[in-house]
Symmetry: C2
Subunit: 365 residues, 2 copies
């Protein structure tokens, strides 16, 4: 805290300094700032943690080195699940986190990341940037004194690694599955026993059989953990995150004090980081999946009856939450109405194009 | 030209001015600049022309009003197909244009926008931002004294409006189709007679029957032209542009003179505009398609034999161009190798997720 208050004073000094030399307008508007950003992701997830590093570099470069943001991986100054709290309390000015980590505070936050059978990555961008999504989620985050910006998407994730095959809905009964939040809530209706484990404990638990399955991210991140050796059945799709968005959180009070030029830089750099992170995942997942299959991973699609039972369980959970909380219902109805309007269009040009190219490449082989 | 040289002098004056007051480092690095950007798109295409307006506003906001870019719609100061030339000659500092407009100069430029059965929008971003795409396309644009930045994508376009149904490959023979560039080259192998018409001439030509069909963009843009009234058969997918990228061109000499902070702003704002433009199309196409169907448009997928014949014709054209030009072959092989590696991954999580959600929504109806 000492250090931070020192930095704050230093920044204020710099502002006063530029003002006294009758510098041009922009210089007056551009104080030297030293901010801190805590990520919910460890360094080993280089795409996700790298997104906050990229963002900080862009802001520094654009401001000519005056707006400095120091990034910290998960746990270094703030525990991964406490990032939202820390930004709210202004312990740090900024955080980078997926809002579904805070399902326990309020399930409504999950609409900022992903919910079961929700929007894919492009639809999420459509909802946030040109639909009602940004306005609705800004309203939600207001209660946490946070201004939020979409800043990354993983694309559709994988369903995870299973020691044994899932052939019927009954195979989910008693399954000790490392998952959490909204997915855990829905899966528990089908008999799954959700488990919370720190990343380092997953592999040994799978090996010993105290854990039956784990869902993580997608091929690029998953390959770093060697799950294929102890739970080779690799299922898709991760229907609880069809396009998981990660957001930048800025403390609302600190944000309001920024000059307009820095506010603009945050908005623009967050959008830039959003598209770049998805591009990195898309680019790297393809080769990683190939590697994983080479290492013994066996790809399976969840059987249709399992997907349909999950859809029904999700529908039930949505109805219960909507009945309990009108705010949840309002965001849910807007979000799902958006999905229902978008999916028929995505089926037309995009869907038929992707399907045709895919079928021709399969024929070529 | 007079006016421009005046603006240049004014800018230099401003730089000198800030230097003399011993302003802080950033102010010295941030000259006042007044640049011009010519778009290849008219104002009526508010998403595409709007992208350059958004970009200019972001740069102005981030620079505190010092880096000003005035945007001009197609034809106002530069004809739509002369934007690349104008940036090369430094008549204007910036342009916003799809490189496949310059097929006549060199077909290799089309890899910066879209080619038949090429990458979809997300794959294009993967190739450009995290694969070899940016390096390869920068090399291509070097010959035009241009530094290029991806700055927008339409997503997969529609196949266009046809007066009569296309039931077999034979129906393409003699078809007077408004299209151009790479698509025109491939379609001509199937007997199509490509036509170049200015936007304003399309509707009357379709009405009179001097034109049989037209391809334009997608539902949101197409609905502004009333094609449904004279050519109601609305085909998909637009296999010649599965994800059409539009790029920002910056005159290389002018770019090199910029301070590093402005260079960073251009890079970051172009990425931001890239994701925002696609989000706008995705958000607006769904409702527009519904409206068009209400107005009498009849949706058809191109019959599979027509798509397969087009695939074969494209393969032939790629082989011919590759045989003629090793530079074309090098970019083609990298781009198509990328597609071939990406598509099997996109089929797994994304494809199965989109397919399942789509099928459940159809069942719900």
């Amino acid at each position: 805290m000492q250090r931070r208050s020192f930095l704050k004073k230093a920044s204020l000094g710099a502002v006063a300094g530029t003002a006294t030399v009758a510098a041009p307008v922009f210089a007056q508007d551009a104080p030297t700032l030293n901010w801190r950003l805590a990520s919910s992701f460890p360094k080993v997830l280089d795409t996700l943690f790298g997104a906050s590093e990229q963002f900080a570099k862009q802001i520094s470069d654009m401001s000519g080195g005056k707006f400095n943001i120091r990034t910290f991986p998960a746990g270094e100054i703030v525990p991964p699940l406490a990032v939202l709290d820390a930004v709210q309390k202004n312990t740090i000015e900024m955080g980078h986190s997926p809002a579904y980590y805070y399902f326990g505070k309020d399930p409504i936050l999950c609409f900022d990341t992903a919910v079961p059978f929700g929007l894919n990555a492009r639809q999420m961008n459509g909802w946030m940037y040109d639909g009602d999504g940004m306005k609705l989620m800004r309203d939600v985050f207001k209660a946490y004194d946070v201004v939020n910006f979409p800043m990354g998407n993983t694309g559709c994730q994988m369903g995870g690694w299973f020691r044994n095959e899932i052939k019927t809905v009954a195979d989910l009964k008693g399954l000790k599955f490392r998952t959490a939040g909204f997915a855990g809530e829905v899966l528990s209706r089908l008999g799954v026993v959700p488990q919370q484990l720190a990343a380092g404990d997953i592999y040994p638990a799978l090996e010993k059989g105290t854990l039956d399955a784990v869902e993580f991210v997608g091929p690029y991140d998953d390959q770093k953990f060697g799950f294929a050796k102890v739970a080779k059945h690799y299922y898709y799709p991760g229907w609880w995150e069809g396009g998981a968005q990660v957001s930048l959180y800025v403390n609302a009070g600190e944000y309001q004090k920024l000059p307009e030029s820095y506010k603009a830089m945050i908005d623009v750099a967050s959008r830039s980081t959003n598209v770049t992170l998805l591009a990195r995942y898309d680019n790297r997942n393809a080769a990683a999946l190939k590697n994983l299959i080479g290492q013994g991973a066996v790809l399976h699609q969840f059987p249709r009856p399992v997907l349909e039972a999950s859809w029904d369980a999700a529908t039930l959970v949505y109805a219960e939450m909507s009945a309990k909380d009108p705010k949840f219902k309002a965001v849910h109805d807007n979000y799902m109405g958006y999905r229902d309007a978008q999916v028929p269009w995505f089926r037309v040009a995009e869907g038929s194009y992707d399907g045709f190219v895919s079928s021709m490449l399969q024929k070529k082989k």
